[in-house]
């Protein structure tokens, strides 16, 4: 029984998509649908969600070869770690600007995600961050939120 279930595990994604499609269709119906002469804001979302759901259900039933699908492996942890690191970057960016999060992200990425030696990681992170700050903040004047290093450098003080 378990073997049977495992063999069909790949269908779960089609199922999830079908469910998402149905949820979208329900949401669309809560919006004014209008008529063909006066289309409301919900009409188009409804049409698309229905098409989506139908296709997903079709796929669920007719897709018979699982070769497209890959399951989670040991290294999936690396990908998850990568995402978490990026999330931390964004949060850090909001509070301390570009320089520090960039340094940290690149260093950690190179050292732990990519397994590079720490000297290289350090060098690249410093070099790259310097480049990015110069190009984006100084040259292109992208208004980065309160970056202490940049403020120091541009003389605006802490």
């Amino acid at each position: 029984m378990r073997k049977h279930a495992k063999a069909h595990a790949y269908r779960s994604s089609s199922l999830v998509i079908a469910l998402v499609g149905m949820a979208a269709a329900l949401y669309a119906m809560s919006l004014p649908l209008g008529t063909f002469a006066q289309p409301g804001s919900g009409l188009w979302p409804l049409i698309v969600s229905i098409v989506l759901t139908v296709c997903a259900l079709l796929l669920l039933v007719t897709e018979n070869d699982p070769s497209d699908y890959e399951s989670a492996v040991a290294r999936t942890v690396v990908a998850v770690f990568g995402f978490l690191l990026l999330a931390a970057f964004i949060v850090g960016f909001q509070f301390v600007g570009l320089t520090i999060p960039s340094l940290v992200l690149i260093f950690v990425w190179l050292r732990w995600l990519a397994g590079e030696p720490w000297r290289l990681a350090l060098l690249v992170s410093i070099g790259a961050t310097a480049l990015f700050v110069t190009v984006f903040v100084v040259l292109l004047s992208v208004p980065v939120p309160n970056d202490p290093i940049v403020s120091l450098l541009t003389g605006r003080g802490f």
């Binding site: 004014p32 006066q38 409301g40 804001s41």
Partner: protein, 337 residues
């Protein structure tokens, strides 16, 4: 051992002095604030001033703002930049201004419809979130039709039982005015919305919609070369306008224009800006408005400055416009979610 104690004594002395200084400033907050404020005001501006334009770069509001900024820069000797923050019917940029520090360094330049949005949608700001700095200009509207549309006069429109018409945005002043007009003429109209005045103009020329109420600057040259026909104009004084000599004003044609709204542009700041700062700003803005650059922009594009009472009371008038907009939307049941 002895050294440390001496240091500690010194340390205590320093801390005490610091504490005393802090206490001194904290003790009289009003006094401290006002002296700090006065210092800030008398030296305003000390850094870059930003004028937020809640529309895309290149549009009428944007180029007027840029001309103004250039003039203000010359007056104040400080950099004045324009920042475009378009989106969501100008709500995005206007919200940003409302949330900025009221120190005079962030200003907003927009048409009053941006403020009117607070009446019809759930915005983070209201009319009370801002303090007006100065009125700018207005722009008359013109009712135009495509040359092959079959409409050449107001009677033609009145004769149509039902007709589609173009609008450059849902529930904007042009749309509402057209709805009021058609209602008065007893014509059933259905508005075909376009994303701005350029696509609307194109649709008019190409004959995809028969007529629309449009800004003068978007359609002037097409009326001049015959692609479009100007049927009537709508202006704040009920008269003809010089861009279209001979074209009657809607009021002259007997249409009741009391419920029709015209756009008014103005410069405003977040509420709470100190009075002295406002005075400095107003002086600079007045000078900038008189500057050649600004004058040429508004003359070329047919945007007459507000004068007299209209200029004085523009913010109050904007409030009233907002209320009218709200009531018209309800009256015509325009869906804006």
């Amino acid at each position: 051992m002895k050294n440390t104690r001496r240091l500690t004594h010194r340390g205590v002395a320093v801390v005490a002095a610091a504490a005393a200084a802090l206490a001194f400033t904290a003790c009289s907050p009003a006094g401290a604030d006002s002296s700090a404020d006065a210092a800030a005001e008398s030296s305003f501006p000390e850094k870059t001033i930003t004028i937020v334009v809640p529309y895309a770069a290149g549009g009428l509001t944007d180029i007027a703002a840029r001309a103004l900024a250039a003039g203000m820069e010359a007056e104040l000797g400080q950099t004045v930049i324009v920042e475009n923050k378009e989106g969501a019917s100008a709500i995005t940029g206007t919200t940003e201004v409302s949330m900025a520090k009221p120190d005079g360094y962030t200003l907003g330049f927009a048409v009053d419809n941006a403020l009117a949005q607070s009446e019809i949608r759930d915005t983070a700001y209201t009319y009370d979130s801002f303090v007006p700095v100065r009125s700018m200009f207005t722009q008359p509207y013109v009712l135009v039709a495509g040359k092959d549309s079959g409409f050449t006069s107001i009677e033609d429109i009145a004769a149509a039982g039902s007709t589609p018409y173009g609008v450059s945005g849902i529930a904007n002043p042009q749309h509402l005015d057209a709805a009021v007009l058609l209602d008065e003429l007893g014509v059933e109209g259905s508005a075909v919305p376009f994303d701005g005045s350029a696509p609307l103009t194109q649709a008019l020329i190409g004959g995809n919609v028969p007529f629309a109420i449009a800004d003068v600057s978007s359609v002037k040259q097409y009326v001049e070369n015959g692609d479009l026909v100007a049927i009537a104009v709508l202006s704040s004084d009920g008269e003809e306008i010089e861009e279209f000599p001979g074209v009657p004003n809607l009021e002259e044609l007997g249409i009741d224009t009391s419920e029709m709204v015209l756009p008014v542009w103005g410069l405003f700041a977040p509420a709470g800006v100190p009075d002295a700062t406002l005075e400095t700003l107003k002086a600079a803005v007045d000078a900038a408005v008189d500057s050649e650059g600004f004058q040429s922009v508004i003359t070329t594009n047919g945007m007459p400055l507000l004068t007299g009472e209209a200029a004085e009371n523009w913010y109050e008038d904007a409030r009233k416009s907002g209320a009218i907009v709200k009531s018209l939307i309800e009256k015509f049941n325009i869906q804006i979610g």
